[in-house]
Each structure stands twice: as structure tokens, then as C-alpha cells.
Amino acid sequence: MKKNRYKLYLILTLLVAFGGLATVLATDTRPRLGLDLEGGLSVILTAEGENVEADVLEKTVEIIRQRIDELGVAEPEVSVAGEENILIQLPGVEDDEEALKLIGTTAQLTFRQVIEQIPANPQGKNAEVPEVTEEVGSEANEEEVVYPDAESPDLLYRLEPAALTGDIVTRAEAVTDRGQWSVSIDMNDEGSDDWAEFTDKLACLRDEGEQIKSQVAIVLDGKVESAAGMSDPATSPDGGVECGQGITGGQTQIDAGGPDDAKELALVLETGALPITLVQSEVQKISPTLGRDSLQAGITAGLLGLGLVMIYVLLYYRALGLIVWAGLAIFTALLYTVMSLLGAGAGLSLSLAGIAGIIVSVGITADSYIVAFERLKDEIRTGKSMRAAIDRGMQRAFNTILVADFVSGSAAVILFFLAVGPVRGFALTLGIATMIDVAIAYFFTRSAVNLLGRTRLMSSGGFIGMKQALGVKS
């Protein structure tokens, strides 16, 4: 019964490991290489100032990502790192000055009067589509511009020069009143007067029947996030915006379609209002040559280390050493498969620090066998038969491995989620290697030792250097 289960485990392990490896190799899925192994530009931007809010940082990341998309970099990576950093990885970028200028500028929020709305893909053949203005920063504030809608790129807006900039906003919040979601905006004193004047002008235009031109467009980083008309005092229960008065007191409400829209708009206003100053904490440019050299060094070191360990275990454990060989082959196959899949599926990349993690984990993996085999020897020395020694010894050894791997595993998990920069890449591979180690110890090592222990060759003990101990018993 048990024997059959061990055989099943063994076959399953081999199938998963080498089947997985074959699939990955056949589909040409490779581990995604980190920038330090592939070459490119890596930038870490740190937000200055106290209490940078997480969602403002997220929004900034989104803006930077959009800008990079326009740069046309293959597989860029922009992410929040820690509480105040943004990590930007641009593989294969050569002109770092241009890229740096593009990602380094702070997003700016402006309020502009709409001149006209233009569909980007007009029905009529003769309709002219204006060019979208390239400048998005403060240089464009004095200009008449054409910007696309943030949500539907098919809609373009021609806009007047900026009437106000986002720094007048002191607070923006999504609120709901009788099922109607809106964004409540507070402005500073200076902004309130300008805002009153601006909305007054728009309200008068509305009264003249200019529905489009009476809209205020909220623009962030070259995208129209919202275009809102002035509510009519004649129809609005709240009073609306009067021509000759505008919105006074610095408090404004902008209606939104639903809770998500309201929150998004509030975030846009906050992001533009509190422009976080980004400082370049680290700019690293790695040429493809250097990356390739590092990768080669890492692989060479890994293989050399693996080879040395294999020679050592064979000399020391003899026949059992062959189990280690097979186990290390399975380990390598599984690790390669998992790293490839994570690279393709989750975009996780292998860095130089990650390779170091793998090399360290070779030692931990080897330890699993050493713990098990030393255990086995201990059991044999207490006078048990080979069968009994294997049964008890392997079970106890697995418990030890589980406890010890829990320690390395939790180190990896905690580091991965709490640390930043190269430490994460290291933690990732260490964690994956630890999990693979536990799985191999349970499914492969135990089964293989058990099955091997049933053969006559093993039970005589000579092959594992235990003839003497077993001989004492009989």
C-alpha cells in the first residue's frame, strides 16, 4: 500500500518537474531578467515632504506610466516602492536624459474653459482633426491646447489657456447626497476670488446658450479628467451658478456619475493640488554588456556551487548521494519553471540579488538531505532495521525540515513585503526555493529513500556506508 503511494509521489514529482520544464522550454518562456542583468535605465524617485499619501503616490505612478507608454519602451515597470519611493525600470533605454526629463516632471492640474469638443474619429470625411498638444507641463499653461478625454481617447477638447492651477485646491472629497455623488472642493482665499470670476464668466456664457463653452475642464497632465457645466439656477434645487456672481466662498461641488467617478476625480484634484516634489534618489544606467557579464557570472557561480555540492554529497553519502543528485535536478527544473512562469504571468523579474538568493538556497536544499540522512543513520545506529529506520527517520527529518524551512520561508515573505529595492528580488527567489525544498522533501526524498531502502542493495547497508552499524545489530 505504502509502496504504491511512494511510487505515485515519485512519478508525480518527476512529471510535474520535468513536464513543467519541458512545457516552459517548448513555449520558449524564460525567466524575466531584471534590469541589472539585461541593461537599461533604473530610476528611483523619492517624494519629498511629510506624509505622502499612498493614493497620491499611486496616482503619480499612473501618470508616470502613461508618459512612459508614450515613450514607447518595451515592458517598462513603474511601481511604488516603500512609502515614498517610485521605482521605474526601463529596459533597453539608451538616452537617459530624455527619459529622465519625461518622468521627473511633476504632474500639474489646471482648470480651463472649453472651446469645443471634437471627436477624434469623425464620421464626416472632410472633418479636420486637430493635433493633440504635446506639452503637458506648466509650459502649456499660457497656451490654447487640444487634449484628449482621460476616459475616452476618441474625444478631444480644444481648451482656453489655464484660468487657474491646481495649487488653489486645499481639499477635495467625494461626497454623496440623496444618492447623488459629487466631489466637494475647498479652495484657498486667493483661489476663491479667481474661481468666482471664472465661474461667473462661464455662467453668463451658459445664459447665452453656449452649453459647450460654459464648461470648465479639469486637466491633469494633458488629459481632461472632467468637463462640468455650470448648473442652472432655474432648474437646480441648490440654486445653481448665477451670472454676475459665480461660485463664491471657495466651496464648489462637481457632480459625478457614481462613487467610483467621484473618488477618482477627488484623487485627481488632490494629486494636482499637492504636487509631490520628486527627487531622483537613484539613477542607474546599466549597459547590456555589463548586464550580460553579471548574468554569466551568476550562472557560472551557481553551476559551480551546485557541482561542488553534488561531488561532496556523493563522496559522503554514496548511494544516497544519488538521491541528492536527482533531488537537485528536480529542484533546478522546478525553480526554472516557476521563475519563468512568474516572469511571464506576474511580471516578476530575476535580479542579480535574486541569483544570489538561489545560490544561498542551494545550501539550504542540500541541508534537507543532510538532516534526513544523518537522521537515518542515527536511527540505524539505535539498532533498528533499515525499514524501521527509514519509516521513523524520514518522518522525524521531515518535521525538522518543515520547522527550519518555516523560518527561512517567513524571512523571505516578510522581506518581500516589507523591504524595498534589491532586497525584494533576493527574498523572492529565497522564498520560492524554500517552498520547492519543502515540496521535494515531502514528495520526492521520502519516497525515493523508502523505495531505495526496500532494495537488497540498500538494506545491506554497504552502499550508504552503514554496513558496520547494521552488522552490529544482526
Partner: protein, 380 residues
């Protein structure tokens, strides 16, 4: 194989690890004080990731203006170019591999990001390298601190988790012993950094974290054995806690030796390869620290964590009683039947130790009646 080596191989040695704890404690205390002294007087050599600065690797083009120049000339040309930025104090090296030469420049003197960009361009121009072929890191002083702060926070949480885990799986005194060994390992590794003057980089932070993981991992493996052995022998009153812990250490010793060897082999490969490749600085930095850390981590599990634990446990009333009982028995035997001392407890076939008389027997029989050691123990 014969003699002592063969006995170690078979786990039949009978080294009194814990009895000689004063030697190990003295050794560890000495090492830790040397390390602390160095940390306080000499401090650590922080790399540009922590201090802020620029690191540049630019190929010296054969066709370029300095293609024919000697290394010293290249260095002085670059130094002149850096003078404009007030960075004459930069470290400049020219590395040669075959025909290719690479200028490696490191300066901590330029902190402004825009100035840093100019420095890189100036160095590249001096050696005639293109921007694409030039590698550079421009780092503000905050980044290294950020990595460290986050790593320290992760470390604290990790230590708490592991403390809770060991307390749950074994007992809290073991958790404490493991943490003491951990602090011991970290101090010594940091001390080695300070004494040797290794540059502290984010890779060093990784190395320290690895050592921490390894140190605890190793301690847990050893404690697992100690726990099992003490439950089997000491709790049943057959042996003192110290002696049964000794049995465990003797049994686990070969495993520790093997594991540290098979961990050190890949690390040595890393060190060897890292030293040979230009781009593998990260690997080399890591390997040096790991080498020290693995050795210390293995040592401390056996020579620090377990003795500390044992001394502590011996103070528990329960194990105090067992100790007195065991000693009384041993004394009674040695006065009544001196010839049999050493062969009496435990008897063959009574416990799991039956076919390995060497270890447990000797462990109990060691305190001879009337010897200084036995008297001193009894007083406690």
C-alpha cells in the same frame, strides 16, 4: 576511517560541548568585544548607496583620446576632468581585461542629481566612451538609508514572528537562546565589515539578512534535536538536562559540519566567480559576508545557543532535582561498585540508546565521585 574521525563520522563522539561552555563563552565574548570596539572606533565604511554619490564604469576606447595612454595617465586625466565639479578626491581605477580597459570612478562628493549627470558625461568624454557603453549609478543619500530602514523594520517583525514560532513549537527559553545566538552572529558579521573595511552596500544588507535567516534556521535544526533528546532522556529523569543536550549536540554535530560545508561550497563559488568578473560586485560583496556569517551561524547554534539554553534550564527546579538524583545515583554506584561506574545507566535495551553505549553512558558517568566538578555541581 579510524579513531576520532570515524567516531565523529558515526556521531559517536562524546565531546562535552556544554561543560566547556566557559571556553566558548569567553571566545564569543572576546570576538564580540573586538567587533564592538571596532564598530565604535572605526565604524563602517558606507558605500555611495548610503552616502550618496556617483559611480561610473566607462570603457577606455582604443580609438579614443586616451587609447594609447597608460593607466596612470588615464587616472590623472579623469581626475582633472572631475576637478571642475570639486570631485578631485574621487576613487579612480583602471581595470584591464585582455585588450579592454575600463575606468571605474566613484565619488561621494557630488550629491545634486543634475551635477551627477554632468559628471558622468564628463568622464565618458574624457575616455572617449559613448553614453550607451557607459554604466553609471547616481545615488542620492536617502536611498541607502531607506533600504536599511525598511530592512530593519522587516528584521524586527521577522524576529518577533520567529520568537513566537519557536516559543510555540518548542519553548520560549529556546526562542531566547536563538535570539541571543542571532545577535551574536549579527554583531560579529558587522564587526568583520568594520575591521576589514568592506564597503557597506545594499548587497551587504541582503547578506546580513541572509545570515540572520541562516543563523536562525541552523539554530532551529539544532534545537529540534535538543528538544527531542531532552524529552527522551532528561524529562524521564535518566540524565541531567545538560548531559542530554550534550548527546543531542554530539549527534547533530556531523550534520552541522556537512550543512555548513555544503552551504559554504556555493558561497565560495560565488566569491571566486565574483572576484573574477567585473560586473559581479554584488555577488562578491554578498559572498564575503555570507562566508563569515555561515561559519559564525553554525558555530553559535552549537557553542552559544545550546549552552545558554542548558544553563538556564538547569536552573529550573525540575531539572535541578533530576540533576541531584542522577548525581546521587552516580556517586552511590561509584562508591559501592567502582568497577562498574560508567556502564550502569542506561542499561542496554531500555531506551532508544541501547546500541550506542558510548554517548549516554559516558555522559552520565563523567562526574566522578569526589571530583571537584561533582562537588561544585552539587552546591548549586
Amino acid at each position: 576511517m579510524s579513531g576520532k574521525l570515524s567516531r565523529i563520522y558515526r556521531g559517536e563522539t562524546n565531546v562535552d560541548f556544554i561543560g566547556r561552555r566557559k571556553i566558548w563563552f569567553a571566545l564569543s565574548a572576546l570576538l564580540v568585544s573586538i567587533c564592538l570596539l571596532s564598530l565604535f572606533t572605526q565604524g563602517l565604511n558606507y558605500g555611495i548607496e548610503f552616502a550618496g554619490g556617483v559611480s561610473i564604469q566607462a570603457p577606455v576606447e582604443l580609438e579614443g583620446p586616451l587609447g594609447e595612454a597608460t593607466a596612470a595617465e588615464v587616472t590623472s586625466e579623469i581626475r582633472d576632468a572631475l576637478g571642475e565639479f570639486g570631485a578631485e578626491g574621487a576613487q579612480i581605477q583602471v581595470a584591464t581585461s585582455g585588450q579592454d580597459r575600463t575606468a571605474i570612478v566613484q565619488t561621494k562628493e557630488v550629491a545634486d542629481p543634475e551635477q551627477q549627470a554632468l559628471v558622468v558625461a564628463a568622464v565618458a568624454e574624457t575616455v572617449g566612451a559613448s553614453t550607451e557603453a557607459t554604466d553609471s549609478s547616481r545615488i542620492g543619500s536617502k536611498w541607502g538609508a531607506e533600504i536599511t530602514r525598511k530592512a530593519v523594520r522587516a528584521l524586527v517583525i521577522f524576529v518577533l514572528v520567529v520568537f513566537a514560532f519557536i516559543s510555540w513549537r518548542f519553548e520560549w527559553k529556546m526562542a531566547f537562546g536563538a535570539i541571543i545566538a542571532l545577535v551574536h552572529d549579527l554583531l560579529i558579521t558587522a564587526g568583520v565589515y568594520s575591521i576589514v573595511g568592506f564597503e557597506v552596500t545594499p548587497s551587504s544588507v541582503i547578506a546580513i539578512l541572509t545570515i540572520l535567516g541562516y543563523s536562525l534556521y541552523d539554530t532551529v535544526v539544532v534545537f529540534d534535536k535538543v528538544e527531542e533528546t531532552t524529552v527522551a532522556y532528561a524529562s524521564s529523569g535518566k540524565m541531567t538536562y545538560q548531559d542530554s543536550a550534550n548527546v543531542a549536540l554530539n549527534q547533530v554535530f556531523m550534520r552541522s559540519l556537512n550543512t555548513s560545508l555544503s552551504t559554504l561550497l556555493p558561497i565560495s563559488a560565488l566569491l571566486f566567480i565574483g572576484a573574477g568578473f567585473l560586473g559581479a560586485e554584488t555577488l562578491k560583496d554578498l559572498a564575503l559576508a555570507l562566508l563569515v556569517g555561515t561559519l559564525i551561524g553554525t558555530y553559535s547554534s552549537i557553542f552559544v545557543a545550546t549552552p545558554v539554553l542548558s544553563v538556564w534550564k538547569e536552573h529550573e527546579p525540575r531539572y535541578k532535582n533530576i540533576r541531584e538524583k542522577v548525581l546521587r545515583q552516580a556517586r552511590a554506584q561509584s562508591t559501592n561498585e567502582p568497577a562498574l561506574a560508567g556502564a550502569e545507566v542506561p542499561e542496554r535495551g531500555t531506551g532508544p540508546t541501547s546500541t550506542r553505549p558510548a554517548t549516554p553512558t559516558a555522559a552520565v558517568a563523567r562526574p566522578k565521585a569526589g571530583s571537584k566538578k561533582a562537588k561544585r555541581r552539587k552546591k548549586r
